[in-house]
Amino acid sequence: MPPIADSILIILLLTNFFILGTASLRAAIRVIALQGILLALLPLFVETHLTFRLVAIVAMTAGIKGLAIPSFLFKAIRDVHIHHEIEPYLGYIPSLFLCAVGTAGALLFADQLPLAIDHRSSLFVPAALATLLAGFLVLTTRRKAISQVAGYLMLENGIYVFGLLLYQSMLVEVGVLLDLVVGIFVMGIVLNHIQREFSSLDTEKLSSLRE
C-alpha cells in the first residue's frame, strides 16, 4: 500500500473526531462531503493500473458522496431551519472520548486479526472499524434526523473502506452500489421520520421538527 493511501485514512480518522465534536450540522455535512471525496479518491492509490472504468468509478463515487448527498442534506437543513444539534443524548466531550477509545481499540483489535500479509501494515482495517464505531456513536447519541443521516453515512464510509480491501475493482463497484443503497436509505429514514411524526409525507411539516 502506498503511503498516500494511509495519509488519506489518517485524515478520515481525524474527520471522524471533528464530526463527533461539532454542534453545527452544516459543518458536519461539509466534513462528511470531504470524507466522501477523499474515499472516492482512495481507489486511485490502491489500483496499479489507471483504467477508464476506474476513473469512472472514482468520478461517480465522488459525485454521489461528495456532491449529491451533501447537497441533498443542505437542502433539507435549509427547508427545516435546523442548524445545530441541541442537547445530544451524550455530550460532545464524552463522545469524543468514546471515539478516541474506539479508535485506539480498533487499532489494537486490527493487530490481533489474522489478516492477509498485504493488509497487515496498512491502516485500512483499523480505519474502517474506527469509522464504523464513530458512525455508530453519532447514530446512538444524536437526536436530530439529519444527524442520524450523518451517522449512517459515516457507517457506510467505514464499510466502503472495508470494500476497498477486498481485492480487485469489481468490489469497488460493489462499494458504489452500497452508496446508492445508502442514498435510498437516507431518503427512507427522512420519509420514515416524517411519516411517524405526522402520518403524512408532506415535507412542509418537517419544519415542526424544530425544537
Binding site: F136, L139, T140, T141, R142, R143, Q148
Partner: protein
C-alpha cells in the same frame, strides 16, 4: 403415459383457475369445462397408475434441490382418484351454487382451480421441495377460499386460524423434510437407511410427522382449525377440503411410514390412541352442533380418527409380525380414505343444496324439506347411510375391514398387545358408528322430515339441475363400492403393498367377498321389508297420528335438533361441557325469557384460546423495550452484536 396424463389433468385444473381471471364472460364459461376435462384425464391416469407400473415425468426447475418430478405410483394414484372426482363434481356444482353474477364468483373459481391443481401435485411429487411448495400453494388457495365471504367476521377468523395452524404444521414438515434429507442425502422420497427408526433422527421424524400431518389431517387434539374452516368455505370447497385436503395428512403419514423399514411400536400406539379419541369425541361433538356444516366438519374429525386408528392397528400388527391383520387394517384405512372422500363430499354438496334453498346453515331453521327437495333428500340420505357405516353402502365395507383387523387381534400369537385392539378399537368403532347414526337421525330428521321451522324452509325449491347432477357420480360410487367391493380387491392389495411393503394381503379378497354378501343380503332384506310394508299399508285405511291432544301440530312443537341430541350429548359433558344460557328463576308472571345452549370446542375454546390470551398478557411485559427511540434500538442491536461476537469467540 400415466404421468403425462396426470400432469395434463393438473395443468387443466390450474388453467381453469387462470381462465376465471381472464376478462370477459367467455373465458369464465370455460372454467367448468377445463375442470371436467381435467377430472376425466386425471381419473384415466389414476386408473393406469393403479394397475400399471409407476411412471415418472421430470421437468427442469430452477429451485436449488428442487426438481419438477412427478411419479404416479399406485399410492399416489389411489389418493389422487377422489381428488380428480371431487374436483370435477365440485366445479359442476359450483356453476349454479356460486353463479357468475354472485359476488366473488371469479375468486371462487380461480382459487378452486389452483387448489385442486396443487393438490394433485402434492400427491405425485417425487421431490420433497416440490412436495412442500405444492402443499404451500394448497394452503394459500384454501385460505382464500375459506375467506370467500370475507365481509363476515367469522369467516375471516376461521381463515386466519386455518392459515396459522397450517403454517405451524408446515414448520414441522420443513423439519421432517430436512431430517429426511440429512438421512438420505437426497431431495427425493427415498427409503431411509435400515435401523434409523430407533435412532434420535428417526424418533424426531416420527414426532414431527405426527405433529405436522396431525394438524394437516385434523386429528384431535390438532383439529382446532378444521370446524371453522369447513363451515366458512363455500359448500363445494368444504367438500374438497373435507374429502381430500385433510387426506393429504393421511397421505403424508403413509408416505413417510413407507420410507422406514420398521416403525416403532410407540408410534403405532400413539396413532391408535389419537385415532380412537378423534373418532369418539369427533362424533360426540358433531352430535352437539346445530350448524349443519360444522356438524359435517366434526364428522370429518371422526372419520379421520377411524382412518388413523386403522393405520395404528396396521402398524402395531406389523411391528408384532401379524402380517395379515396389518394388511387388513391398512386396506381398511386406505379404502376409508376413498369412502370418506365420496360420502362426505356427497353430504357437503347436499348440505350446500339445502343452504342454497334456505339461506341458512342452522339446522333448527329448516325442516320438512324432503317434500320440497326430494333429490337433495335422497342424496343426503345416501351419504348419511354411508357415513354411519351401514350396509349396503361403502362406509360399511371399510369399517368392516378395520373391525375384522382389530377382532383378529384375539387370534394373534404373543398377544400381549392385542388387548388394545380387541378392547380398544372394536368398541370405540362400534360406539362411533352408533353415535354417527344418532347424529344423522338428528340431522336428517330435523332438516328433511317434520314441518318447516321457517318461512324460507316452507318455500324452499329444489336446486338447479347442475347441482343435483354433480351429486350423482358420488352417490353412484358410494353404492358401487358398497355393493361390489370385490372389484377393488386387486387395487387395494397393490396399494397396501406399496404403503406397507412386505405384507401378505391374501385374506383381503376373502374379506371383501364377505362384505359384498352382507351388502347384497341387506339390499334383498330391505327390498322384502319394503314390499311387505307397502302391501300392508295399501290394505290399511290411513288416519292422522295421535297428536297428544294438541289440536294443530305447530312447527314449534317439534323436536329441535339440539333437543333430540341432548340426552346423548349430556353423556359426554365431561369432555365438552356446554355453555347454557337459561333464565335462572322465573317470576310469578314470567316475562319474555330465552334459552340457548352451545357446545364450545374442548381444545380450541377451552384450552388453546385461553392459553394464547395468557401468553399475550405476558408478552405485553416486553413492551418496555419498544420505547420508540431509534437510538435505543440501535444500542440494543449493537450490544447484541458485541455479545454474539464475544460468545462466538469464546
Amino acid at each position: 403415459m400415466s404421468a403425462l396424463l396426470y400432469a395434463t389433468g393438473a395443468l387443466l385444473f390450474v388453467m381453469s383457475g387462470v381462465a376465471a381471471l381472464l376478462p370477459g364472460r367467455p373465458a369464465l364459461r370455460l372454467t367448468p369445462l377445463f375442470m371436467v376435462l381435467g377430472a376425466i384425464t386425471g381419473l384415466a391416469s389414476c386408473a393406469l397408475g393403479m394397475t400399471g407400473a409407476a411412471r415418472t415425468l421430470a421437468l427442469p426447475w430452477l429451485i436449488p434441490g428442487g426438481a419438477l418430478t412427478i411419479t404416479v405410483d399406485a399410492l399416489s394414484a389411489f389418493f389422487a382418484t377422489p381428488v380428480f372426482l371431487l374436483a370435477g363434481a365440485g366445479a359442476v356444482f359450483a356453476e349454479r351454487y356460486w353463479p357468475l353474477d354472485r359476488r366473488s364468483a371469479r375468486h371462487v373459481r380461480a382459487f378452486f382451480g389452483v387448489l385442486t391443481g396443487a393438490l394433485v401435485t402434492v400427491l405425485a411429487a417425487a421431490n420433497t421441495i416440490l412436495f412442500l411448495a405444492a402443499w404451500e400453494v394448497v394452503t394459500i388457495a384454501a385460505f382464500f377460499l375459506v375467506a370467500t365471504e370475507h365481509e363476515n367476521q367469522a369467516s375471516r377468523q376461521s381463515a386466519w386460524l386455518y392459515l396459522a395452524a397450517s403454517h405451524v404444521a408446515m414448520l414441522a414438515l420443513f423439519a421432517v423434510i430436512g431430517l429426511l434429507h440429512a438421512s438420505t442425502e437426497s431431495w427425493a422420497f427415498e427409503a431411509l437407511p435400515a435401523g434409523i427408526a430407533a435412532l434420535p433422527t428417526g424418533r424426531a421424524i416420527f414426532a414431527l410427522a405426527l405433529f405436522g400431518f396431525g394438524i394437516k389431517s385434523g386429528l384431535m387434539p390438532f383439529h382446532v382449525w378444521l370446524p371453522g374452516a369447513h363451515a366458512a368455505a363455500p359448500a363445494h370447497v368444504s367438500a374438497v377440503m373435507s374429502g381430500v385436503v385433510v387426506k393429504m395428512g393421511i397421505y403424508g403419514f403413509i408416505r413417510v411410514i413407507s420410507l422406514f423399514d420398521t416403525v416403532p411400536v410407540a408410534f403405532g400406539t400413539t396413532l391408535l390412541v389419537l385415532g380412537i379419541i378423534s373418532s369418539v369425541l369427533g362424533v360426540a361433538l358433531a352430535l352437539a352442533q346445530h350448524d349443519l356444516k360444522r356438524l359435517l366438519a366434526y364428522h370429518t374429525i371422526e372419520n379421520i380418527g377411524i382412518i388413523v386408528s386403522g393405520l395404528g392397528v396396521g402398524l402395531l400388527a406389523r411391528a408384532h409380525g401379524a402380517s395379515w391383520i396389518a394388511a387388513l387394517a391398512f386396506a381398511g384405512a386406505l379404502l376409508h380414505v376413498w369412502n370418506h372422500g365420496l360420502f362426505k363430499a356427497l353430504l357437503f354438496l347436499s348440505a350446500g343444496s339445502v343452504i342454497h334453498a334456505t339461506h341458512t346453515r342452522e339446522i333448527d331453521r329448516t325442516g320438512g324439506l324432503a317434500r320440497r327437495m326430494p333429490h337433495t333428500a335422497l342424496a343426503f340420505l345416501i351419504g348419511a347411510v354411508a357415513i354411519c357405516g351401514l350396509p349396503p353402502l361403502n362406509g360399511f365395507v371399510s369399517e368392516l375391514l378395520i373391525y375384522l383387523a382389530s377382532i383378529g387381534g384375539v387370534n394373534a400369537a404373543g398377544a400381549d398387545w392385542s388387548w388394545l385392539l380387541v378392547f380398544g378399537v372394536a368398541p370405540a368403532l362400534a360406539l362411533t358408528g352408533a353415535l354417527a347414526l344418532a347424529c344423522f337421525v338428528k340431522a336428517f330428521g330435523a332438516i328433511f322430515l317434520g314441518l318447516p321451522r321457517s318461512e324460507r324452509a316452507a318455500h324452499a325449491n329444489e336446486s338447479p339441475v347442475a347441482m343435483r347432477v354433480a351429486m350423482v357420480p358420488l352417490a353412484l360410487a358410494c353404492a358401487a363400492i358398497g355393493l361390489a367391493p370385490t372389484l377393488l380387491a386387486p387395487i387395494l392389495e397393490r396399494v397396501t403393498r406399496d404403503a406397507a411393503p412386505g405384507l401378505t394381503s391374501a385374506g383381503l379378497a376373502h374379506m371383501l367377498n364377505g362384505a359384498q354378501s352382507v351388502s347384497i343380503a341387506t339390499v334383498v332384506a330391505v327390498a322384502i321389508a319394503f314390499a311387505i310394508v307397502s302391501i300392508l299399508a295399501s290394505r290399511r285405511s290411513s288416519a292422522p297420528t295421535w297428536d297428544c291432544g294438541y289440536a294443530t301440530a305447530a312447527p314449534r312443537a317439534q323436536y329441535t335438533a339440539s333437543s333430540l341430541a341432548q340426552s346423548i350429548a349430556s353423556v359426554f359433558s365431561w369432555a365438552m361441557p356446554p355453555d347454557v344460557h337459561s333464565p335462572r328463576k322465573l317470576p310469578l308472571f314470567p316475562e319474555k325469557a330465552s334459552f340457548g345452549s352451545h357446545v364450545p370446542d374442548p381444545v380450541l375454546d377451552r384450552a388453546l384460546l385461553p392459553a394464547i390470551r395468557h401468553a399475550m398478557r405476558l408478552a405485553t411485559l416486553a413492551r418496555w423495550a419498544q420505547g420508540g427511540r431509534v437510538q435505543f434500538y440501535l444500542v440494543s442491536i449493537g450490544l447484541t452484536l458485541v455479545v454474539l461476537l464475544v460468545w462466538s469467540a469464546l
